[in-house]
């Protein structure tokens, strides 16, 4: 029971944060004439967040082996999340822009925390004898 919660609740919480944060306080820059890179990073991050949240919810109803797989998927999703604003899509170039100052670091922190929790969950589940 304890392992189940450790292996699912963090994904749900962090997934929700990843989905909500870019749409609220860690939003993309405003006032652009057209959508910039930060807008697309924002939308992608929300999508990835919803997926991580869904994986966490599924983990609530799964056995240890399945949870391990789900957490590995969460790790992969978090890596994707880290890549989106840095490599794949990027954010605005200006150092003092809101997307670079708030959205990028928020997503990085959430991504790293997501990986840490998912790795812990997977490790705990790998130790339980089936």
């Amino acid at each position: 029971m304890k392992n189940k919660l450790i292996a699912s609740v963090p994904s749900i919480v962090i997934g929700a944060l990843i989905a909500i944060a870019p749409q609220t306080f860690a939003h993309a820059c405003t006032g652009h004439g057209m959508f910039g890179a930060c807008h697309w990073s924002q939308q992608t991050a929300t999508g990835i967040g919803v997926v991580i949240l869904a994986l966490g919810v599924i983990a609530l109803f799964s056995g240890p082996k399945t949870r391990m797989g789900l957490n590995i998927a969460v790790i992969a999703d978090c890596l994707l999340l880290l890549a989106v604003p840095t490599i794949l899509i990027g954010v605005c170039p200006g150092a003092m822009m809101h997307c670079r100052m708030v959205m990028l670091p928020t997503l990085i922190v959430l991504g790293v925390l997501g990986i840490a929790f998912a790795a812990t969950g997977a490790w705990l589940d790998s130790r339980t004898r089936a």
Binding site: C29, G31, H32, G33, M34, G36, A37, C38, C92, P93, G94, A95, M96, M97, R100, M101, V102, L104, P105, I108, V109, V112, L113
Partner: protein
């Protein structure tokens, strides 16, 4: 290979079998490590920003237009950009006052957001011939003459890959980009003063004209003054006011005073922070001592068992110390990781929110601070565990066993 248990495994087994106690101890140590690591790093970054700002403010006195003194100060410390100016003939007259060793003119223009996804830039026009303020630290990145139309960019300015900046619909070549200073200057571009009229024209072409056309070639925002030895800036300011009755209305900014005021604010902040971290550590040590001392009582039997099996006093103390050190080190690592995650990615945000010069320390300093925090966390664990050792080494093992009955 031997696969059996040894005394070295006992501390970890003790921690693993008491997850609640271990988690509680870890949480306490983690909080301490976050406070020490984060607090020290924030304080250090503010100090770095302060020193950086002091180095950048080479003038003793700035003479600015009427009612512009506050804007000029904000420009020095924060990241508020602005445009203000008087005319060159006033500047020239000001420079004739008694007690001036060096004087140079600068022109400030606040740009609108330049291209898409750009922030406002502070454009600083300076005169390379008389300058003594900017050149000394620009020199570390750029030697030679700044040609008309060329730019030197501050650290936060986004220079495109072809080495230009898009501003007012034109591409301006950038000859050098400066290192981070943690001040408003990071959002500035520096141009030759002869380029200012060009810039004004360019602004008129694409958006709101930044200043009337007739001022474009004679606008001066500030006269930066270095006073002669034996004069203080206030005296020189008085001398300037004496030159012309109108000069009494000009703004006089003393960068030394601005620095001192910022320093006072910063000292207060770091003082509070240091006191807070110290208080937190004092409480943390008390909590840890209490937890360890309490566990000493309930674990007397366990340690007496080890003695009966033939463990030396040193072995038993080793088990206790290793347990504490493992918790301390793990808490330290987690704390440093959390602190780094909370501070490093957000350094730009912290700097802009604090409204104080904030310059992120370099990687080696951060690594050093991290090690310090981990070492201190480990040490606090080990020192607290002495409370256990003191209790169990008193009295015969047999008496201890009987007490546990």
């Amino acid at each position: 290979m031997d696969t059996h248990v040894t005394l070295r495994d006992l501390p970890l087994a003790n921690l693993a079998r008491k997850p609640l106690r271990t988690t509680a101890l870890l949480a306490v140590v983690t909080v301490l490590a976050v406070a020490l690591f984060g607090g020290t790093m924030l304080g250090m970054n503010l100090g770095n920003g302060m020193r950086s700002m002091e180095r950048r403010l080479g003038a003793d006195l700035m003479v600015v237009p009427q009612n512009s003194a506050n804007q000029a100060e904000a420009l020095l410390t924060g990241s508020n950009s602005s445009t203000f100016y008087f005319t060159r003939d006033i500047a020239r007259k000001v420079e004739r006052a008694d007690g001036i060793a060096q004087a140079t003119e600068q022109t400030y223009i606040s740009s609108l957001a330049a291209a898409c996804c750009e922030e406002k830039l502070q454009i600083i026009g300076y005169d390379p011939a008389t300058d003594f303020v900017i050149a000394p630290w620009v020199a570390s990145q750029f030697q030679g003459e700044l040609e008309d139309g060329q730019m030197v960019a501050g650290a936060n300015v986004n220079v495109s890959t072809d080495g230009t900046i898009e501003l007012y619909g034109r591409s301006w070549p950038v000859v050098a980009q400066l290192a981070n200073t943690g001040t408003g200057l990071d959002n500035s571009v520096f141009i030759n003063q002869r380029t200012v009229p060009d810039m004004v024209e360019a602004s008129a072409a694409v958006s709101k004209r930044v200043m009337p056309e007739e001022y474009a070639d004679k606008a001066v925002s500030t006269v930066m003054i270095k006073v002669k030895d034996g004069y203080d800036p206030q005296t020189v300011a008085t001398n300037i006011k004496r030159l012309d009755t109108r000069f009494a209305d000009l703004g006089y900014v003393y960068p030394g005073g601005v620095t001192a005021a910022t320093k006072t604010a910063l000292d207060a902040l770091t003082g509070y922070m240091a006191a807070f971290v110290a208080a937190l550590w004092a409480m943390g040590v008390i909590v840890l001592l209490a937890v360890f001392a309490a566990s000493a009582n309930e674990r007397k039997r366990e340690f007496a068992s080890l003695r009966i099996m033939g463990a030396t006093r040193g072995m038993v103390n080793g088990v206790i110390a290793k347990e504490a050190a493992a918790v301390g080190a793990a808490g330290g690592v987690i704390g440093v990781a959390l602190g780094a995650l909370g501070i490093l990615p957000f350094s730009a945000l912290i700097g802009s929110r604090l409204q104080l010069p904030y310059l992120q320390a370099g990687p080696w300093t951060v690594i050093g601070l991290a090690l310090l925090a981990i070492v201190c966390s480990t040490a606090v664990g080990v020192v607290s565990s002495f409370a256990v050792m003191g209790r169990i080494s008193r009295g015969d093992a047999d008496i201890i066993l009987k007490e546990g009955r």
